[in-house]
């Protein structure tokens, strides 16, 4: 009931984020740098089978041991980072971005536009995602842009649904009505009145969606539709080294940890973005 009357000013809102947020940012940056420059710095080649034993434990030569063909695991993960981080991030950003934009359009437009967009996207939801991926890859072949597009198309409906339900609530607020009576255009209302008030939950959703995309990529790779051997994303690394599971070898633990650290880092960062507390209360 008693509200704190002294509110943070703009300057105060720009203050640094707390430590979990920084930790998330650090891990994410680390993986991004790894994906960008890692492969060129490597001494070991991820395709070199060498003389090392299959599923070797970690040693001075192979820091994370070797995989089912005796290849260096660290090198495989560094190469895999490019696929996992790159594809998943791009696909997630595309899915959330397109989903949110369409949702804003649906909420701010006339009922018939809303209805046709919503029903159209419902149709997309009704197609099983793996099946859709199978058809798309079968039709256009498996390539990186294709994988990104596939993952994005599959996750647009989810983002759209969430963003639309949030946006419809905001659209009913008096300040949106005021903007309308002022004569503001649809774009202004979408961009300035609705978006800032739904951005927080959408960012949280982006973090979740990212995890789903990583899992989707892994399962596509399992079906042989994802990243093609000898290249491998982290999901396929887990799958191809499944043989190391009984011995709990580094070959399976390391890529699994890599996936976990990436997804946790993304969620930590998003949950602790600066200004979040200030924007809180935008959506009730």
């Amino acid at each position: 009931m008693t509200r704190n009357m002294t509110s943070p000013t703009l300057a105060q809102r720009q203050t640094a984020m707390n430590w979990p947020g920084k930790l998330g940012l650090a891990i994410l940056l680390l993986w991004l740098i790894t994906a960008l420059v890692g492969p060129s710095l490597m001494q070991q080649d991820g395709t070199d089978m060498g003389e090392a034993a299959v599923f070797a434990a970690s040693s001075a030569e192979h820091w994370l041991g070797t995989d089912y063909l005796g290849r260096d695991m660290l090198a495989r993960i560094i190469q895999g980072a490019r696929y996992t981080v790159g594809i998943a991030l791009l696909a997630t950003l595309l899915a959330s971005g397109i989903g949110t934009t369409l949702a804003l359009l649906a909420a701010a437009s006339k009922p018939w536009i809303d209805a046709s967009l919503s029903r159209g996207i419902d149709t997309l939801t009704s197609v099983p995602s793996k099946m859709l991926a199978l058809i798309l890859v079968a039709a256009f072949g498996s390539s990186l842009p294709m994988l990104i597009m596939t993952a994005a198309v599959i996750y647009i409906p989810g983002a759209f649904r969430i963003a639309r339900s949030l946006a419809v609530n905001i659209n009913a607020m008096d300040y949106v009505t005021v903007a309308r009576t002022r004569g503001e255009g649809r774009w202004y209302i979408m961009r300035h009145e609705i978006l800032p008030n739904i951005i927080n939950p959408m960012l949280a959703d982006l973090g979740l969606r990212f995890v789903y995309v990583v899992l989707l990529l892994a399962s596509l790779s399992f079906l042989g539709l994802g990243v093609q051997p000898p290249d491998a994303d982290w999901g396929s690394l887990v799958r191809e080294n499944i043989g190391a599971l009984p011995s709990a070898g580094a070959a399976i633990v390391a890529p699994a940890l890599a996936i976990a650290s990436l997804t946790i880092a993304v969620n930590l960062l998003i949950d602790n973005l600066p200004g979040r507390a200030a924007r809180e209360g935008g959506v009730h």
């Binding site: 009931m1 008693t2 509200r3 704190n4 009357m5 002294t6 509110s7 943070p8 000013t9 703009l10 607020m173 008096d174 300040y175 009505t177 005021v178 309308r180 009576t181 002022r182 004569g183 503001e184 300035h192 009145e193 800032p196 008030n197 200030a278 924007r279 209360g281 935008g282």
Partner: protein, 550 residues
């Protein structure tokens, strides 16, 4: 029969980032058995917190830090949680502000009314039902024998509030806490509910705490009044003494704000040469699909006609559902009328927003009731005020900053608020920012939709002063929509009375107190509680109007 209540040294603290802060500080009072004590104060004064603490309950994030609450000789706060729970709903009961939000929509009313008696195993379901029906009789509910089998959505707000009272009284409690029980009701409904409460409390000799911000209502209900502000007691005295000879400065301000007062806006009296600004003719509007005759499926407004001259303020009054907000929305272009026309400055206004020109839009601005939802929580006050200035007037740079500063001055907001988000402003400040945004467009006409009904009495009075002052200084015209006759009378030159979407009558300022008027206007005027004791009793004797369907 109610119990003796003693409260000693009661303190409640709230957990904040900077540590604990007292929101109720060292309260001491007693209530004699069968008496009603009113807790009165503005929002944030700690009145609801105090009422809840008397049940041993503190809201999330709050803690009862010290003190004792003895009811019938037993210290509630010293009891363990389990025993406190045993008392709630049995010895101490609570009637919340919004009955509609407090009833479960999927259970019938009888099951919910007798629930406290069954939970505490006081009687068998059959006994409880018999008792509930007796209570329905004494609360003058319609069809007392059968109303229990209905569901919450099948009865009106006033009836629901009385059903909640029945729920609270079924266990014959020692203490009943009524938390703003009539605030959400229309005046004509409120009087029925107050009457029913009064009778039920008197008949049973129940001890009661009545929480309210409305002095006039409290004057009818309470034997003693405790004035709270910022969690501390300002004044405690018999009702008669508080309303006639208040000692505390804050109580005096509260009384001053509650007394009806004419806010003079000067110019509008000589209207012979005044220019016709807004003319509404045979306006009908509604919602839903439009049928073959061009009528929407639910017609809200029917054949509304009135004229508003430049510099004039017209008040539109009616109860909830009378169509007064729809009228404002039709004038603003938010809803397309199905019949009739709106002329502005002699030219017909297009029906829908998209057909209106920027200049037509600029000249009519709307100010909404809830400043909370009318200001974008993600934009600073500067950004909110800057937009209409850029959009309509094309201001930028220094001129823009200067104008924003002027606007803040105009609505008496401190310059420091400019950089804040709406969440950092108090309710009154938000409403001022809301007004400033409308003023930024330099409009001819401002549509005020219940602008003060969400505000505390003192704050609301200050906003009304501002509205009257702006009109005097800038020559603005208002269409002032309200359910509160006193508010409308204090700022408007003319009152339009609406009921069920029709315009019933129009009363000019000179005739406010001179009859005869339309019976519905008379009823509204009579239903506004007056700030003196015994008003309700007089109404109970004299008001033999048509049976209310409240």
């Amino acid at each position: 029969m109610g119990a003796q209540v003693h409260v000693k040294g009661l303190s409640v603290v709230v957990q904040t980032e900077a540590g604990e802060r007292a929101i109720v500080d060292d309260l001491n009072f007693s209530i004699a058995p069968g008496e009603v004590l009113a807790l009165i104060g503005e929002s944030g004064s700690g009145k609801t917190t105090t009422a809840l603490a008397m049940m041993g309950y503190a809201r999330h994030g709050c803690r009862i830090a010290a003190g004792s609450v003895s009811i019938g000789g037993r210290d509630i706060l010293a009891l363990p949680e389990v025993q406190q729970r045993g008392l709630r709903g049995r010895q101490i009961t609570y009637i919340a502000q919004s009955a509609a939000a407090s009833f479960n929509p999927s259970l019938n009313l009888m099951d919910q009314v007798i629930e406290p008696a069954l939970i505490h195993q006081l009687m068998t379901p059959a006994q409880a039902r018999t008792k509930a029906v007796a209570l329905f009789h004494s609360l003058s509910l319609p069809d007392p024998e059968t109303i229990g089998s209905r569901y919450p959505h099948q009865v009106s707000g006033g009836q629901l509030q009385r059903l909640m009272a029945a729920m609270a009284l079924i266990t014959d409690p020692d203490l009943v806490i009524l938390d703003e029980p009539t605030t959400a009701l229309d005046v004509t409904t409120q009087i029925e509910v107050l009457r029913a409460f009064r009778r039920a409390v008197r008949e049973r000799g129940t001890t009661a705490v009545y929480v309210s911000h409305d002095l006039a209502v409290v004057a009818q209900m309470a034997d003693h009044i405790l004035v709270l502000r910022d969690g501390t007691m300002r004044e405690l005295g018999a009702t008669e003494q508080i309303i006639s000879t208040p000692e505390n400065e804050y109580t005096q301000r509260l009384l001053a704000a509650a007394r009806p007062r004419q806010r003079d806006a000067g110019s509008a009296t000589d209207r012979t040469d005044a220019q016709l600004l807004l003319e509404v003719a045979d306006l009908s509007a509604g919602y839903g699909p439009i049928d073959r005759q061009g009528q929407p499926s639910s017609l809200i407004l029917q054949d509304i006609s009135f004229k508003l001259y430049r510099g004039q303020a017209i008040g539109v009054i009616g109860e909830s559902g009378s169509g007064k907000t729809t009228l404002a929305r039709a004038v603003a272009g938010l809803i397309k009328p199905c019949k009739g026309q709106i002329k502005f400055n002699g030219r017909e206004l297009p029906a829908s927003l998209t057909e209106r020109s920027k200049d037509e839009l600029r000249r009519v601005q709307i100010v909404f009731q809830m400043a909370d939802t009318a200001l974008n929580p993600a934009q600073t006050i500067t950004a909110i005020l800057a937009r209409p200035l850029q959009f309509y007037l094309g201001l930028s740079g220094k001129a823009l900053q200067q104008r924003i500063k002027q606007l803040l001055d105009l609505v008496q907001l401190p310059a420091a608020t400019a950089q804040r988000l709406p969440g950092g402003l108090s309710g009154g400040q938000k409403q001022r920012a809301n007004l400033a945004r409308a003023l930024a467009a330099e409009p001819d006409l401002i549509l005020c939709d219940e602008v003060t009904s969400a505000l505390d009495t003192v704050v609301g009075a200050a906003v009304l002063d501002l509205i009257a002052e702006l009109r005097r200084e800038l020559g603005l015209s208002y269409l002032f929509i309200s359910h509160d006759l006193q508010t409308v009378r204090s700022v408007c030159d003319e009152i339009v009375v609406m009921q069920h979407g029709r315009l019933l009558t129009q009363v000019a300022r000179a005739d406010y107190d001179r009859g005869p008027h339309h019976p519905y206007y008379e009823l509204l005027a009579r239903s506004v509680p007056e700030l003196r004791r015994g008003w309700l009793d007089e109404q109970m004797q004299s008001l033999h109007g048509p049976p209310s369907n409240s």
